[in-house]
């Protein structure tokens, strides 16, 4: 396909991390983020890094895949690195040429900030690498469920999100086909200014919307003809059941948090 994208870059593998309950994984993610922010020195960050490395090893996701997942955000790592290195004015001087001044403090800060950000990106990437988008969606909805009492339509949010996810590849396929059909009639998409380009999209977007509405209607009919209705009494095809490993994960996370609070 012309638009070959990896949504959430989910990497399928058989591992403890993959099998963890989504809610446990989300808890772990937030716990790790908290520890990353709690750590106020390299030793603290080192402990978190060690933990993240263990999770990576357990997850059986190849290192190359993880690096690929990080590539698009690596530019954001560059900013704190460069800013802190070159803009720090206090501290012991290490190097000076003309107006360029590099201080020990600057280097320390640059290293610390970059490592911190890297760890945050890594944990977030680990979550999406080991959890399919659908599972992620369901898990989040499940965590929203207690708020249903306050009028949060958790179930509907989850349904909408999973339908949207399901239809992304279909939409891309439709778009590709329509674009080719218009191209065969002489439409040119890759020239002219922004406005001209937007105008050439009209012949593609109108049919795409028309098709999407038709598909939405078909889906609604299909669901209705199978007596679908939402609401709190529905059970899930994938039941969420917490297992001992989820408790272990949460426990480890808690220990890590406490260690961070008291020691670093």
């Amino acid at each position: 396909m012309a638009f070959d994208i990896a949504i959430g870059q989910y990497h399928h593998a058989e591992s403890v991390i993959h099998r963890l309950d989504v809610r446990a994984k989300l808890t772990l993610l937030f716990g790790l983020i908290a520890t990353v922010f709690l750590a106020d020195g390299f030793i603290g960050l080192g402990v978190v890094a060690l933990f993240v490395l263990i999770v990576i090893a357990l997850s059986r996701v190849p290192v190359i895949t993880i690096l690929k997942a990080l590539a698009p955000v690596s530019i954001f790592l560059l900013f704190p690195l460069l800013f802190n290195t070159f803009l720090a004015r206090e501290g012991i001087e290490v190097f000076r040429v003309g107006f360029i001044l590099i201080t020990e403090e600057g280097l320390y800060k640059a290293g610390f900030m970059t490592l911190r950000l890297l760890l945050l990106f890594l944990t977030a990437a680990l979550l999406t690498l080991t959890t399919s988008p659908i599972a992620l969606c369901d898990g989040m909805a499940k965590m929203l469920e207690p708020f249903e009492r306050f009028g949060v339509p958790a179930f509907e949010i989850s349904l909408m999100a999973s339908i949207a996810l399901r239809f992304i590849p279909t939409l891309l396929e439709d778009f590709d086909r329509i674009r080719k059909a218009q191209q065969a009639r002489g439409a040119v998409f890759d020239s002219g200014g922004v406005l001209a380009r937007l105008r050439t999209l009209v012949p593609c977007l109108v049919p795409l919307f028309a098709q999407s509405f038709r598909k939405a209607e078909e889906l609604a009919n299909a669901m209705e003809s199978r007596c679908y209705h939402g609401g709190s009494n529905r059970t899930h095809y994938h039941e969420f059941r917490l297992a001992w490993r989820d408790a272990v994960a949460a426990g480890v996370c808690l220990v890590l948090l406490l260690v961070m609070v008291f020691f670093f």
Binding site: D4, D174, R185
Partner: protein, 286 residues
Amino acid sequence: MLALEGVSYTYRSHEGDVTALKPLDLTIEDGTFLGIIGHTGSGKSTLLQLMCGLLSPSSGRVVVDGENIADKRVRNRLHLKIGMAFQYPEYQLFAPTVAEDIAFGPRNAGLSATEVDKRVRLAMERLRLGYERFAHASPFELSGGEKRRAALAGVIATDPKLLILDEPTAGLDPAGRSELLGIIEEFNRSGMTLVMVSHSMDDIARLANRVLVLKDGAAVMQGTPTEVFGRGDFLRSINLGVPQATEFAAELRAQGFPLPEGLLTLETLASAIAHELESGSVSRGI
């Protein structure tokens, strides 16, 4: 004339590579009606997209009137020579009115307003869409068959020499199907070269004068309809079949009713049976 020289195509994706078309040599002379048949996933749509430059071959080259279409300048003018209608072409309709939608191609070709209007009227006439009735209607209000014809009018409005159709009759009722096939037959008779993919052996037998058979991305047979449909057993072995008339003739022959080979359409079958009955050789007991 369109020629494919060792053209192959491989789709590349995350899940791995799929070779949809193995190296293929094919020449389509002007005026030909080429029918392409093959099981689902045999690479028919891929082949069509290679022919009109929507996909670039992984190997080999596509030559139209002596020019390689890998050349961007050649490809940019290709839509004037080659019209292509995908499966369910009505899903490409976008303009507020039928006439405007049909005008899309000619306008992209940079023709003058009067010339565009002339082309639109001609295309609608060729697709048997009354101008008064349909020109200012919204394409979304038409019936399925009318939408299909409006979309095809949009494809032939640039007056291409070669028209490529991917299952043009899919999803139409028998009347709509027969009407559309009649229209397509007229195109060919007026000198247009045609390439048509169809799952209906009857349609191919009725219209085509060359047939290409694809199996798993490879061309396993090429020839006249009589040659190709004469090998029913082979076709059935690759999930295809023969036209109903051919099948029926074979059944009759098996029952001892003498009929010649190579009967492809209902008309030729009927007259062969009538001839046989008149000549009296099978009058016993019938």
